[in-house]
Symmetry: C2
Subunit: 343 residues, 2 copies
């Protein structure tokens, strides 16, 4: 790391420049555009930086350049496992770049989102990653006025603000229901909690797949605006059973609910999959090791985070993608809970 700054005090770019025998502005260019320097100067500055242990003052840089090296990330929840994976992808791929991540949590409130976006605008971020495609008109206006690359994540749709990485929740849900139907089930319940826009789209996939088979029945649908928990899965399932006794299968909008349903089945001695098939969504890790193992829809959350950051950074640096919308797809992970019963 080179010799630490001694009593002399602050190491500024000027000091580096002096030691390297160049002008401060040349030293500055060393950081921002090293290719513009001649080989010799580049090396001289480089060794001066190391020698002095120089660390750039980000505030000064931001003030002078009217830009920051911050990528804002707006997500609706910190607790939801789904976002943990996305965040990991985001932090992993921001590491090693010059950009730092600034996280903000809307708690599923679009008004809070507006407020946060306004805050971000004031800080002039280099780029922005926002969750979903259902911003308010005002939020969209803010995003468009930001003058920086924006990536919407978690889902895809027409009319991106700028770029998008995600997958179709509708298609994923439709595929899951098709699979359940193929197993011969007719009465497929739908369990939904916190009906945010993406969950809403999963419902639409369910509804359309059921309607296509002429099997849609509103009595099969149980939803709530309450946030998801495992316990809630059991509760919703109990509600469903209370409403209609004949149930072949249950599609849960996420894996926590599915696990809750499994536990409730165990409590009620309902054999899975013999008496009831269960399918979840997201494919959290525990789904594979439950007994019976639980079918789910795998989504590429970590990759979503990684791509979002890469796309934003590329765009900041002028490398715009050919296609602004990146569909990461999904995979149906068929497991025991929805398979023809074995043994």
């Amino acid at each position: 790391m080179g010799r630490k700054q001694t009593k002399s005090g602050k190491i500024r770019l000027t000091e580096v420049a002096k030691l390297a025998g160049v002008s401060p502005i040349t030293a500055s260019r060393f950081f921002r555009n090293p290719e513009a320097l001649s080989e010799s100067k580049r090396e001289r500055v480089d060794s001066a930086v190391k020698e002095l242990g120089y660390v750039p003052n980000l505030a000064a840089r931001a003030l002078a350049s009217h830009r920051t090296e911050v990528i804002g990330v707006v997500i609706p929840s910190l607790t939801n496992n789904v976002f943990a994976d996305v965040l990991r992808g985001i932090y992993d791929s921001s590491e090693g770049s010059r950009y730092s991540i600034q996280l903000a949590n809307t708690r599923y409130s679009i008004l809070q989102e507006e407020k946060l976006l306004r805050l971000f605008r004031a800080q002039k971020p280099a780029g922005l990653i926002v969750t979903g495609i259902n911003q308010t008109a005002e939020s969209r206006t803010i995003l468009e006025s930001m003058n920086c690359p924006v990536t919407q994540i978690m889902e895809i749709g027409d009319s991106p603000v700028d770029m998008m990485v995600g997958f179709s929740h509708y298609d994923a849900s439709f595929a899951a229901i098709s699979h359940i139907l193929e197993q011969g089930h007719r009465r497929i319940g739908f369990l939904g909690a916190r009906m945010d826009p993406r969950v809403q789209r999963r419902f639409e996939g369910y509804r359309d797949a059921m309607k296509a088979a002429s099997l849609f029945d509103p009595n099969l649908v149980v939803t709530t605006s309450v946030p998801t928990t495992v316990t809630l899965g059991g509760t919703l399932f109990a509600d469903l059973l209370a409403r209609t006794a004949e149930i072949d299968a249950v599609f849960c909008v996420n894996d926590d609910l599915a696990l809750g349903v499994l536990f409730e089945c165990q409590r009620r001695q309902i054999a899975v999959p013999r008496d009831l098939a269960i399918v979840g969504f997201n494919d959290l890790e525990f789904m594979a090791s439950a007994v019976p193992s639980l079918t789910s829809v795998r989504t590429n959350r970590y990759e979503m985070g990684r791509h979002a950051v890469t796309m934003v950074i590329d765009a900041i640096e002028g490398r715009r993608p050919r296609e602004p919308v990146l569909n990461l797809g999904f995979q149906l992970m068929v497991r025991e809970s929805s398979m023809p019963q074995t043994t």
Copy 2:
């Protein structure tokens, strides 16, 4: 929000001051120390700010004041549910304050931690929150040279760098084992994954409780450095069974492992709690709704996050706590998995 800045361009503090009929420095003080202004000026500046929709330039502020309004947070994992709760507490209580959170992830590497702390030091944060008490000597030196309040979270110990919020993993674990022993179990297995310092301390609590009862046996201990998953819980349990057939109970260092053990028991037709008691750690939400419901040690993670931020902000603003170490304790949540069998 007042009239937006029109074509006129940038709204600087100078513009606000002009409109309010005061000097720029007075307007500046309006933000940093409003009580120092006379009632009348304060109102005049306040309405000028609203009138113009003024937003302070944080970079300029940081450059001039040699400080930022950033609280750095260093955690070892983004995926671990435990930290999700802590983070929620942190973000919740930083909201509404002037401070913003800068998150960094060490991935359980103490070298990475050193590197991140060095990075933070360069940015002169207003305060810092770091996980655990096992920093390297170098990390401690960096922390001490930071010249800002530091709170260590997740556990407590002697010799805080500055402040601490957490609980004793040793005591919590000891209490859990004592409870299992009280149920009459003698052969209590220990299952541990990713043996980070806090998990290590849980092991020590287990070991000492077992030794006190003259029941400690190294064959009962199965650990790995692999990160925790539910599936891993099953695997470790299988390993334990392969090693010693006689097992009364299993203590898992976290709830994911405990759930994995439960699933493995279901696979092997081992009745819980009749044939085996299971106790986890953290008390994640699903523990209460598993079948049978699973005993765990509840920790106050959200509160830990909240307190950490509050303590740091208070310290930044000169309100130092009387006691630098805050013990948030734990509660043993006794459930079916460790109770005398019913029915």
